[in-house]
C-alpha cells in the first residue's frame, strides 16, 4: 500500500490545483472600491484660472483617466478613448499626471482630446491619494461620488466590453 501513497498525495494536490485555477488570487478588493473618491481641486491644463474638482460631477457617472504625455501605453488607448468621447458614452476626465515638461496642452491640440476636462496633477499628489502606481489607470465614479471600478493599464474594446460595460449597466449610465 505504501508505494501508492505518493500517487494519492499527488491526486489530492491536483484536485486543489484544478479548483485553484478558477479562483483569482489577485481579486483582492481594492480599498478604494465602494469608498468616496478622494477630493481634490486642481487647475486645468491650458487655463490655470479654471479648476476641476470631483464635486463638480455630483449626480453623474463619470470616468477618471490618469495619463501622461510621456506615457506610451496612454497613447495606445488614446484612440479608443476618442471613440468613447465621440459616442458620448461617458464623460471622461483626464488627470494629467506628473507632466513636468508641460507637454499636455500641445500634445492634445495635436492628437485630439477625449477629455471634458484635464486637471493638472503636477507633483503627483492626487495620484498618491488615488493609489496610482503607473499610467494609465482608470476609475469609474458614480452619481454619489463613490469609486466603483479601477482598471490598471490601457483600455481597449475587449477590456471595455468585459469590465466597464457591465459596471456601467449596473450603475444605470
Amino acid at each position: 500500500m505504501k508505494r501508492w501513497l505518493p500517487l494519492v498525495f499527488f491526486i489530492v494536490l491536483v484536485g486543489f490545483f484544478a479548483k485553484g485555477l478558477f479562483l483569482d488570487p489577485r481579486e483582492v478588493p481594492s480599498p478604494f472600491i465602494g469608498r468616496q473618491a478622494p477630493m481634490f481641486t486642481l487647475p486645468l491644463v491650458g487655463d490655470a484660472n479654471a479648476s476641476f474638482s470631483p464635486a463638480d460631477m455630483k449626480g453623474r457617472v463619470w470616468m477618471l483617466n490618469v495619463w501622461a504625455p510621456w506615457c506610451v501605453s496612454c497613447r495606445q488607448e488614446h484612440g479608443f478613448l476618442m471613440q468613447l468621447a465621440q459616442a458620448r458614452v461617458i464623460p471622461i476626465v483626464g488627470l494629467n499626471w506628473k507632466d513636468k515638461d508641460r507637454e499636455a496642452e500641445a500634445l492634445l491640440a495635436r492628437i485630439g482630446s477625449p477629455y471634458m476636462a484635464v486637471p493638472e496633477d503636477l507633483d503627483g499628489r492626487v495620484g498618491i491619494d488615488y493609489g496610482v502606481t503607473g499610467t494609465p489607470e482608470t476609475y469609474i465614479i458614480d452619481q454619489a461620488g463613490i469609486v466603483r471600478l479601477k482598471h490598471i493599464g490601457p483600455i481597449g474594446p475587449e477590456v471595455w466590453k468585459d469590465k466597464f460595460e457591465p459596471k456601467l449597466k449596473e450603475l444605470g449610465a
Partner: protein, 659 residues
C-alpha cells in the same frame, strides 16, 4: 517573415520531439536497434530547430519588430540592446521557449555523453526527455505562441518590466532553468530504469553526475535571483519566501536530498526505491514550480501570466507526467530490492536522516506555499503566509540536518563506532561551542540565534578540515601532492559543505547585526549609521536610455576618511511611468554599505527620504553559494565517471586497429 520562420521551426521541433520519444521507446520495448538509433539524431535535430526558433524570436526583439505581439508587450524601442535580447525570455511565451530550448540542450548533451550506456537505456532516457519536450512544445504552440502577430502593429512597445532591467536578470533565468530542466535528466533515468525493470545500481552511477550538475546550476540560479532581489528591490532583503522563490527552492531541497541518496544507492545499493522516488519528485517539483508561476494559481510579485487556459494545459500535462510516473513507480516498486543492510550509526543512517529532514523541510515550504490556495479552494477566505511562518518552521527543521552534515562524511559506511567518531570530533565540538557562545558576547551581548549560526558554521568548517586531515594521514609525498591526488568527488563535497558553513556565517551575521535607517536628507545634511557618516550632496537630473532619473550623491566616510561616493537613483521609466529605486552599494568582504532613495519631500528644495543600510557579511552568503556551485561542478567532473566513459571506447578503438 522571420517570426513565421521561427513558428515553423517550432512546429518542426515538435514533430522531431514526437519522433524522438515514440520510436526509441517502442524500439527499446521491442529490442529493435534501428528504432533505438533514432533517439540521438532526433534529439539533436530537435535542439537545432528549437534553437532556430529561439534565434528568430531574439531577432524580432533585437530589431524592434512591434508587429509581433510578444515584442510589443515586452520590449520598447528605447530599451538598450542587451535588455532587448534578454526581453526574449522576459515574457511568459519567451521564458517557456527558453525552457524548451534548455530541455533540448540537455537532451542533446545526453545524446552525446551516453556512449557508455546500454543502447536500450540511452534510447529510453532520450525518449522520456522527448515526451517532456512534446508536452512543452505543444503548450507553446497551442496556448502561448511567442510569434503571434499583432495587426495593426503597435507604434511602440510597452517596455520590459523595469525591475527586470538588470544584469542579474540576464543570467538568472537561464541558470535557474538549467537547474530545473536538468532534473529532467535524473527523472528520465529513473523512468528508464523503471520501464526496463532493471533496478541495479548502474543507473544511479549514470545519473549521478547529471543530477549534481543540475543541482549546481539550480543553486547558481537561486543565488543569482536572491542577489538580484537584494540589489534591485531596494529593501536590502535577500529572501522573501515569495511563492516564486519557493517554487525554485523546493526542487533544490529535493535535489539536495537526491544527490545524497544517489550516493548511497550507488555505493551501497540501498535506498533504491527512495532514490527513484526522489528523482521523480525533484523534477515534479520543477514542473510544479512552472505551473505555480505560469498559471497564476498563486499571486506573487513575479507571476506575470494569468490565463486559465494555460493553467489548465499545464495542470493536465502535470497530471499526466507526474501521475503517470507515480503509477509506474507504484507498479515497479516491489521489484526494487534493497541491497546490504546497515546499522543505526553508519554513513547510510546519517544520510537517511539528512534525507528525512530535507523532505520534512520541503514539506514545510510546500505547505506554506500552498496553504493560501487550500484555504481559498475550501472557501475559508483569502490569507497569505509570510516569512514569520517560514522562519519559525523551516529554520528549526533544518538545524539538525546542518549539525549532522558535519558528521556524515567522517563516518564509515555500513557500521561505524560512535565513541570513535566522538573522540575525533570532541575538539571540534568544544571549539565550535566556545565560538558560538563567546563571539556574540564579544560583539553585542547574548544572542541565541547568532550563537546557533556561529556554532554551526564553525562546527561544519572544522569537520571539513577533519575530513581532509583524515585523508592526508595516509599516502606518501608532499602535502600538495597528496591534496592534488584526492579525488574530485571528495573535493567537491567538502567544498560544498564548506560553502554551506560560509553561507550560514553570513546569514547569522547579517540577520543579527545589520542596521538600517530611514532619514530625511537635504543637500549638505548628514546621517550616521554603524560608524559610517553619510553626507548628502543633493540630486541631479539624469537621462537614461529609456528612463529619467533623479540621481543622488552621497559621500560616505568612516572616522573622517572617505570610503566611497554613492549614486542611488530614483528612476521613472518612459514607457509606463513606473517608478523604480536603483540602490547604490559599496561592497567589500566584510560588509555592504547600501543606500536607496525614497521619496522626494514636498515643498522643499531637493529634500528626500533616504534609506541607509549597513549589511555586515552579506557577501558571505553569495560566496558560500558559489563554493557550493563550484563544489557541485568539481564533484560531477570526478575521474571515475570519465573512466566509465572510456572503458567502452578503448576496446572499440583497439578493435578498429586490429581490423
Amino acid at each position: 517573415m522571420i517570426p513565421e520562420l521561427g513558428h515553423f521551426a517550432l512546429i518542426l521541433a515538435l514533430l522531431l520531439a514526437l519522433t524522438q520519444s515514440i520510436l526509441p521507446l517502442v524500439g527499446a520495448h521491442r529490442g529493435n536497434l534501428t528504432l533505438m538509433g533514432v533517439a540521438r539524431p532526433a534529439a539533436q535535430g530537435q535542439f537545432v530547430f528549437t534553437a532556430l526558433a529561439f534565434a528568430c524570436l531574439a531577432y524580432s526583439f533585437l530589431t524592434n519588430d512591434f508587429s509581433v505581439e510578444n515584442v510589443a508587450r515586452n520590449s520598447f524601442s528605447q530599451l538598450p540592446e542587451v535588455y532587448r535580447f534578454t526581453a526574449t525570455w522576459g515574457s511568459h511565451e519567451g521564458s517557456l521557449l527558453l525552457w524548451v530550448l534548455i530541455l533540448a540542450f540537455w537532451s542533446t548533451a545526453v545524446s552525446v555523453f551516453s556512449r557508455h550506456l546500454p543502447e536500450d537505456m540511452a534510447a529510453r532516457v532520450i525518449g522520456v526527455m522527448g515526451l517532456i519536450s512534446v508536452g512543452f512544445l505543444a503548450f507553446l504552440l497551442t496556448t502561448s505562441n511567442p510569434f503571434e502577430r499583432l495587426l495593426p502593429a503597435a507604434m511602440d512597445g510597452n517596455d520590459m518590466n523595469p525591475l527586470l532591467q538588470d544584469w542579474g536578470m540576464i543570467i538568472h533565468p537561464p541558470m535557474l532553468y538549467m537547474g530545473y530542466v536538468g532534473f529532467a535528466v535524473a527523472f528520465a533515468f529513473a523512468i528508464a530504469a523503471l520501464l526496463s525493470g532493471k533496478m541495479d545500481v548502474a543507473w544511479a552511477r549514470w545519473s549521478r553526475p547529471w543530477t549534481t550538475v543540475a543541482w549546481a546550476f539550480l543553486t547558481l540560479g537561486i543565488v543569482l535571483g536572491s542577489w538580484w532581489a537584494y540589489r534591485e528591490l531596494g529593501w536590502g532583503g535577500w529572501w522573501f519566501w515569495d511563492p516564486t522563490e519557493n517554487a525554485s527552492f523546493m526542487p533544490w531541497l529535493a535535489g539536495t536530498a537526491l544527490i545524497h541518496s544517489l550516493a548511497v544507492t550507488e555505493k551501497r545499493g540501498a535506498f533504491k526505491a527512495w532514490t527513484v522516488l526522489l528523482a521523480l519528485v525533484a523534477f515534479s517539483l520543477s514542473l510544479l514550480g512552472t505551473f505555480l508561476v505560469r498559471s497564476g494559481v498563486l499571486s506573487s510579485v513575479h507571476a506575470f501570466a494569468t490565463d486559465p487556459a494555460r493553467g489548465a494545459f499545464i495542470l493536465g500535462f502535470l497530471a499526466v507526467v507526474i501521475g503517470g510516473s507515480l503509477v509506474l513507480y507504484a507498479w515497479r516498486a516491489p521489484k526494487m530490492i534493497t541491497g546490504s543492510g546497515f546499522t543505526w550509526f553508519s554513513r547510510e543512517s546519517l544520510l537517511l536522516a539528512n534525507n528525512v529532514i530535507l523532505i520534512a523541510a520541503l514539506g514545510s515550504v510546500l505547505l506554506g506555499t500552498l496553504y493560501p490556495l487550500f484555504m481559498d479552494a475550501m472557501g475559508l477566505g483569502k490569507i497569505s503566509v509570510g516569512p514569520p511562518y517560514f522562519n519559525a518552521v523551516f529554520v528549526p527543521v533544518m538545524v539538525p540536518a546542518l549539525f549532522l552534515m558535519a558528521i556524515g562524511p567522517l563516518v564509515r559506511w555500513k557500521e561505524a563506532s560512535l565513541p570513535d567518531v566522538a573522540t575525533r570530533l570532541k575538539w571540534a565540538l568544544a571549539v565550535a561551542l566556545a565560538i558560538g557562545l563567546l563571539l556574540p558576547l564579544v560583539l553585542d551581548g547574548f544572542n541565541p540565534w547568532a550563537s546557533l549560526g556561529f556554532f554551526l558554521a564553525t562546527w561544519i568548517t572544522l569537520a571539513v578540515l577533519a575530513g581532509f586531515a583524515d585523508r592526508l594521514k595516509y599516502g606518501q609525498g608532499s602535502l600538495m601532492h597528496k591534496l592534488s591526488s584526492l579525488p574530485r568527488g571528495f573535493w567537491g563535497m567538502q567544498l560544498a559543505h564548506f560553502g554551506m558553513a560560509v553561507g550560514i556565517a553570513g546569514i547569522a551575521v547579517v540577520a543579527n547585526y545589520q542596521s538600517e535607517r530611514d532619514v530625511r536628507m537635504e543637500p549638505g545634511s548628514y546621517a550616521e549609521l554603524a560608524g559610517y557618516t553619510f553626507i548628502f550632496r543633493g540630486t541631479t537630473e539624469h537621462e537614461g536610455p529609456n528612463y529619467r532619473a533623479a540621481r543622488g550623491t552621497l559621500e560616505v566616510s568612516q572616522n573622517g576618511k572617505p570610503v566611497a561616493t554613492l549614486h542611488p537613483e530614483k528612476r521613472t521609466y518612459n514607457a509606463g511611468g513606473m517608478g523604480m529605486t536603483e540602490a547604490a552599494v559599496h561592497p567589500n568582504i566584510f560588509r555592504d554599505v547600501y543606500v536607496a532613495m525614497g521619496e522626494q519631500l514636498e515643498g522643499q528644495n531637493d529634500a528626500w527620504t533616504v534609506r541607509l543600510f549597513y549589511k555586515p557579511f552579506i557577501n558571505w552568503l553569495w560566496f558560500g553559494a558559489l563554493f557550493m556551485v563550484i563544489g557541485g561542478f568539481l564533484a560531477a567532473s570526478d575521474k571515475r565517471y570519465r573512466i566509465a566513459l572510456r572503458s567502452r571506447e578503448v576496446p572499440k578503438h583497439l578493435a578498429a586497429q586490429g581490423a
